[in-house]
Symmetry: C2
Subunit: 494 residues, 2 copies
Amino acid sequence: MFESAQIGHKISKAEWKQEIPGLREGLLDAQLDLLQSKKIPVIILVAGVDCAGKGETVNILNEWMDPRHIETHALRDLTDEELERPHMYRYWRVLPPRGKIAIFIGTWYSTPLIDNVYGAIKNAELDQQLERIVRFEKMLCNEGALILKFWLHLSQDEQKKRLKRLEKDSNTRWRVSPVDWQHYKMYDKFRQVSERMLRQTSTPESPWIIVEGTDPRYRYLTIGKTVLNALRQRLDTPEPPQHEEPIPPIMSAIDDLLILRTLDLSKKIKKTDYQDELERYQGKLNLLTRHADFKKLSIVIVFEGNDAAGKGGSIRRITQALDARQYRVIPVAAPTEEERAQPYLWRFWRHIPRKGRFAIFDRSWYGRVLVERVEGYCAHTDWMRAYGEINDFEEQMHRKKTLVIKFWLSISQEEQLQRFKEREKVGFKRFKITDDDWRNREKWNEYELAVCDMIDRTSTEIAPWTLVEANDKYYARIKVMKTVCERIENALGK
Amino acid sequence: MFESAQIGHKISKAEWKQEIPGLREGLLDAQLDLLQSKKIPVIILVAGVDCAGKGETVNILNEWMDPRHIETHALRDLTDEELERPHMYRYWRVLPPRGKIAIFIGTWYSTPLIDNVYGAIKNAELDQQLERIVRFEKMLCNEGALILKFWLHLSQDEQKKRLKRLEKDSNTRWRVSPVDWQHYKMYDKFRQVSERMLRQTSTPESPWIIVEGTDPRYRYLTIGKTVLNALRQRLDTPEPPQHEEPIPPIMSAIDDLLILRTLDLSKKIKKTDYQDELERYQGKLNLLTRHADFKKLSIVIVFEGNDAAGKGGSIRRITQALDARQYRVIPVAAPTEEERAQPYLWRFWRHIPRKGRFAIFDRSWYGRVLVERVEGYCAHTDWMRAYGEINDFEEQMHRKKTLVIKFWLSISQEEQLQRFKEREKVGFKRFKITDDDWRNREKWNEYELAVCDMIDRTSTEIAPWTLVEANDKYYARIKVMKTVCERIENALGK
């Protein structure tokens, strides 16, 4: 895999001088088009062998292009705000918006590579981590990103030469650490693991580009030209008309027996029992949040449901049991301008709570496979891939000890009609019934199907859906409270 | 000052029952109006004597209102991302946008109070810190915020009773720590310092509201009603037509001798000298950033100047000397939707760098007193108060070891004309001359006056302006590089 990258590629000074002005002009030009069109975000990863010139390469890209529209990110120690959130959080928060370029040096590949070379993780775990990265990059590409992954290669001899040269010069001596020499001795191991990594993560959407790092002119020119070509190609190709890949339609159960229809919506609870139970569960929840281990958890609660199913009321019963300092409720509204310039999930990523805290979502990332699917706000392929992306996202939270508790509040069509009418009668603006509500209602069956697909495809062991029979508000609220308590108890190992 | 808050205020159960439904209805109603009008951000501070019921009060406000549009923030340990930035950064980042409510418990008052009570800071320092807070709150109010500051008071006897009661109950025992008893013993000292604090920070825009904390019903009802009244008042009062307070016009020097006109724009440097000097200063700057103490500093560089004065070129000469991982260039564009919902300075606050890093602003917060003043984008009073607000902001950075280096790049009217024409000739889109550029040029004199006022009012010992004679690009770039090096050297105490 690295064979072609140690055969002594070279660019002469003359050739360099001839090529550079045009390349720079072209890059600046492309960067401006990118900025003005705001078409795509550009993510450039620079990885490779130690001393192969990663830092210099990044610096020259910044020099050739307009540094005002590039952000460079290096993998440093995690801050405590990052430590308490999913592994990819540190990258999520610095992804470039459409129109901008981000260069990463020390990337999401660094940790798995080092961990495997040093034996902290076995190959099986490495493969798993790489597979997650592949899915993450695929999602970014599907959301429009251009990802360029450069791997700078050096032969072992060349690496040694560089280390010695750096050590000789008093200006660069600081750059060589004992770790560098240690890595040099482990060259073969690094090479072997890197190869495995590159092989598994070179995808059609974002292939690795291996570049021989020996000759700086060759290295810079190769990378510069690759960036330019990739930018031009994306910028000059008109977006294909919303291309609908032929995806087999999801077949709903042919006997019409849908999971939602199996719910017994007549379930009820007496008001006095409700009051007792509510008090009991609120007390329990409050106690659980003061458990010594609670500060090792974060809690994400998702509320979805039919219009007027009582999401707000259920949320209030939870928050009443909590200290206001512990929770945040996130009402999902239309995305802001900054959110629209990012991948779909970005506006949810930014609300993932720290340890010991709750984030309660009033509607959520499931909008993609519900309203956006039914109303046709996104393409078939987009909501179809969302199931997998959402599962990945929830798995990431799960791996960082974030409990994901999801509720679907279900009411019957008749109950909804009655609630709508009552609300119209009260006429109180908090419960204003909009045209949207009536229109959604007309699509009852389509929504029902979308909900059932959502449940089938995203109810997982780590983040199961709890279906709540909500024709009776008291029953629904108690079921919600009980589930929240049980899930937390469970996680605390009580 | 606390006399009226220890005379045994009480609300009977009957009265409570009668008042609450209406109050809750009113609060929800006002909150919805607030949300829909997006008129103002609401900031509620809850402070006071230990055990006076701050937490419970915040919880009940969340219960009465819609918790989806309230965020509650408690003063906890600083995260490392906060530690490396100005003191107020932790508050800046969580200020509510227009339409939302944020409740702070443990506020910007806590640290000065505790520090003074424990003798860590003297009264003079306390007063200084309080004065800064007053200015901060005043700025928020001027930017439209509604600030409500509640101080919950308890007599010493009542405090003792509460501590004992909490200790008796196994459910609440955890809430009483040795620190609480220690504070109890220091009651008089706390009272005395609190009084001083309240006195100095009760302003017409945001007065303290002292509430007796003994009877919960009295406490809740007082606060609930105060919040409701304040909300209604602000929401129901039509915004006064852009009210221009009669402010004396800034008088420009009557002999027409302006600081900008004293610059000798003919200053020049030879190309060969330029190349030598540039290399020398870039090397020096690079070395400085590798100084052991450099990681204790942060660097903020501001570039302002006439159109076509060469800001971009100067910025590139700096970044060329740096590692791309160390800096970020922030090109100031039109504020985003999220930025528009916040105080003017918010969009700059978010880019303040961590230690060991540069943030280079291509245009900056000075837009307020330049383009916004000249083009009339904001009211006279708004740009007039901006001078003081900007000085406060820069002082905050300075106190946290952030160097603020500011450049005004000055060219003559003739030089600008020539550059505009050249750019039009090249016709290259990077340097497109827009109608804006030509229009700004017509207001040359007004801009000149605004720049001189800006320099006079914001060139401070801690954040001086460097005026750069920029008709000759080489000369300008070297002066910029030299200044940056000197300022950093100076800060490193070399």
